[in-house]
Symmetry: C3
Subunit: 204 residues, 3 copies
């Protein structure tokens, strides 16, 4: 079940990433690379940091084909994708909570401390978007806008909390995913923003 949602999520992430690449006038290599980095980069960075080999896409190279295909398809139907903007925002929210829970589960299986489990979920959910923004030469959106990383933390927290209360992993996953999704959709709907720290002093 989580596996199917994962495939849907990486496909959707790859398609929106293709539009980011298009706004930077990239060629088809750039489109595929940005799609891979956005859809699979979060899990990759998590695995590198935790020393967990092999990478998901090395054991499942079909994910590379799926995401590349989705990205090139999105480039073809770019003018149509505009009308699906809300759908893709929802799929991105789905991806965020699914990636986060998968990241938490992996760190749990490695018997890592609670903070690292939460961080593993957050990195899996968010780092792909950060990599995309670095490669597109932007300041990562994650660091500046919207309730996004916070959703990953809440999702991971609910998941761990449910398990600590004696819930099965299945129920913890469902409840954490639903709460995370609702939170993210509310954030999109009401345009919630995190308080910003603005500092204009020149320091060095």
């Amino acid at each position: 079940m989580l596996h199917i949602l994962y495939i849907i999520a990486i496909t959707a992430e790859a398609m929106t990433a293709a539009l980011s690449a298009g706004r930077r006038n990239m060629d088809w290599v750039g489109v595929c690379m940005i799609a891979w980095v956005t859809a699979l980069g979060g899990g990759t960075i998590r695995n590198i940091l935790l020393g967990h080999y092999p990478m998901t896409w090395v054991s499942h190279p079909e994910y590379l084909l799926i995401t590349a295909g989705a990205a090139l398809f999105a480039a073809l139907i770019a003018s149509f994708m505009r009308r699906l903007k809300m759908l893709f925002l929802y799929l991105d929210a789905l991806g965020l909570v699914v990636f986060t829970i998968i990241g938490c589960q992996l760190a749990e299986e490695m018997h890592l401390p609670v903070i690292i489990i939460l961080l593993s979920g957050m990195i899996t959910g968010c780092a792909g978007g950060v990599l995309r923004d670095v490669l597109c030469n932007d300041i990562p959106l994650l660091f500046r806008k919207e309730v996004y990383a916070s959703v990953a933390i809440v999702t991971g927290g609910v998941y761990l909390g449910m398990e600590a209360l004696g819930s099965s992993a299945q129920w913890a996953t469902v409840i954490a995913a639903v709460i995370g999704l609702i939170l993210r959709l509310l954030a999109i709907r009401y345009e919630w923003q995190m308080p910003k720290f603005v500092y204009h002093e020149e320091w060095e």
Copy 2:
């Protein structure tokens, strides 16, 4: 033989990288760093992603000295290097195919799937330039211009195809390198460009 070409290629990559650093007014530390990242970064990223330790430059620290020396030498003779522009474009093309084949061979020895072997070649051939552009605060050139990553894919494909047809690794290497080189030189000569995906809609 491939080893000698590899040394020539990292030396040439380090020298052109030094000029990139110079265009950004970097000091000698920056010149060395950009040279290392450009010449050795592709193989390093591949090794990190595939979990292949130790790094080439840890077992062969002399590569660090060679590339740093070449970069500082290039900075010294910068005004003269201008006249050698075509020579260095050719050496860069040589580096691209040599790095690609080395990357394919390494993934082959690890018994990875075909797609990963191709990707390993592409990352080895191209990722150094991407890292250089990120550190110089540019949108990676690879994603926007020229037939470059495509040459890596064709080179790797010919190499694997030859082997599938029963050829020895030596012959596969020679044929793949020659075809890759010719393709890249034609791309330089006729200024081939990949089709771009241009998308100006604001999305989110």
Copy 3:
């Protein structure tokens, strides 16, 4: 002793990193991320390159809490921190030499060649700042300004030199730290700059 200085240094690095994040109008997630990357990123990159697992902050997750807390505290008292500018420049110099020596020691314990030991020290001391600048969408300051990486090289060189002369690791640490600190403070005081390589020719 080195351990206590390490805690002080990552706290100080996290606090100055928070101000960098504030200048880019980041939210609290961005502030924490930039703090983590700046304070712990050098050691993390070193561990990834050397294949040394687990990461420091996985075995000591309390470092994540300390640095995040310090960064958020710095954001709260930002207007006051301005007056402490010199104090934080000194603490940053302390961090540079402490991180460098820790990086050298780790590579030494792995029985790596001398060049790699020096590089390991330099990466540990300097890479956090490079990552911070990449995420803030700047050309890394390290590559353009000031006697900074050179201090790391001298510190590592003195440390290794002392040991080669038969000194104990303790004495080598003390002498290398003192010489490194003096060099960095002189560089700040007299605004030393490394010679730059400026090159305006368009190349390709």
